[in-house]
Symmetry: C2
Subunit: 245 residues, 2 copies
């Protein structure tokens, strides 16, 4: 053991963690570790920025960057005038950034994302067919009829999203639902739809949604899986063909 010259706490902890990268990066890891080790519980409030900075022996600016980084990751939440809190660390919080990935993807990667969505969506729909309750089914039907009752693309899209969101929720896996939410995020869907809807895809979409709904009512997982896979696969194939020329 080395001598302990009654040094300051920051000097001590600084010695424990030699310079691996930037100061900010180290701060991020430290806070992440605190949460992973259970030192910080979900919903708990952190010390102030000034305290944290002093505790790790870094400036407030660097600490703020670290906090900002963990904020965009959905791990921390800063409330102006109140303090910094650990989020509930739920799927929705942590997977919010997933939508960013979808929004920034183009070309071949869009097809890949759609393929992932097809896999997850078909399984989620199959699970939902087995587990969905009457109340949840009523909610799904609400969006189905609302979607059929209008011709406004904006509204159709909104109910389309809600339709699938309700089904994903009924599947009983919040993590999967959150990922599907990201894969169907506003910008992502809107971008694809812009060109897709020009080919009279509304009628086909309505037919496919009806098929999915029938499978849910019948509580038939296999039929639901097939219907959902076909539904997403339809868009996927169209996108793939758009990419060819």
């Amino acid at each position: 053991m080395e001598e302990t010259p009654s040094a300051e706490a920051e000097a001590e902890s600084a010695a424990n963690a030699p310079q691996k990268g930037t100061v900010t990066q180290r701060a991020i890891e430290r806070i992440k570790a605190m949460i992973a080790d259970g030192g910080l519980e979900p919903g708990q409030r952190l010390p102030t920025e000034r305290d944290l900075a002093a505790r790790l022996g870094i400036s407030r600016s660097s600490m703020r960057e670290a906090i900002r980084a963990l904020t965009v990751l959905g791990v921390l939440e800063a409330r102006h005038g109140s303090g910094i809190y650990v989020t509930q660390l739920e799927a929705g919080d942590l997977l919010e950034t997933f939508g960013v990935v979808a929004d920034l993807s183009r070309g071949p990667r869009l097809v890949e994302l759609l393929e992932v969505r097809r896999i997850l969506e078909s399984t989620a729909t199959a699970l939902a067919a087995a587990r969905i309750t009457d109340d949840q089914l009523a909610e799904v039907e609400k969006h189905l009829t609302a979607m059929n009752a209008t011709d406004d693309p904006e509204e159709i899209l909104a109910h389309d999203l809600a339709f699938h969101r309700e089904i994903a929720a009924a599947a009983g896996n919040e993590t999967m639902a959150a990922m599907l939410e990201g894969l169907s995020s506003r910008t992502f869907r809107a971008r694809v739809w812009r060109g897709y809807q020009e080919e009279g895809a509304f009628a086909r979409t309505r037919r496919e949604h009806a098929a999915i709904h029938r499978a849910l009512v019948a509580h038939d997982p296999e039929a639901a899986r097939a219907a959902a896979a076909a539904h997403v696969g339809e868009v996927e194939e169209w996108l793939r063909s758009q990419l060819r020329p």
Copy 2:
């Protein structure tokens, strides 16, 4: 849209976009929009922090926070002394944060993540069975035999990860491979293994890997899917049982 920088374009655009949130948040959105709109190509270098800050009419500190945020998201890359660059926006870059989610998840969410992994991994393995080349197959075998040749848990885990990574790569969907990488990230796997291996799971794991390998050699997608699902499902069930009491 971008205005031609005549005199006070930044003050003007700042006035056009009234306070939606924090200044930093707006800066993040602005840069994200620049990339999404094609104004910034992958690999391209951005103006300096000082320039960007002046351009958006904010301080360098705030701009730095915005850049840090986009850095942890895998969108930007800052090279000390050189400049800030847009990443290649490949799946690996953008989904790196996915591992953070896995590392910070506990309890029921771990099971949910494992369920997602089972779905993706089984599909990826099925795709790999149909598409895998002899070279890729040789690589898979390398890790299989290496894994069977040692008793060091550390080494076994490493080859286990590589085994699945090669298969995911052979599936031909980089996005899916990147997601699986995150779902199998070091900490995540190590944490589960710590307790799992105590029940003599090594032998079973080896048997299951052998089954997956056989299906790949036979180019039998259905067998591969079943073997992979069973493999992940095994751990999933164990974890589920650990959670019950």
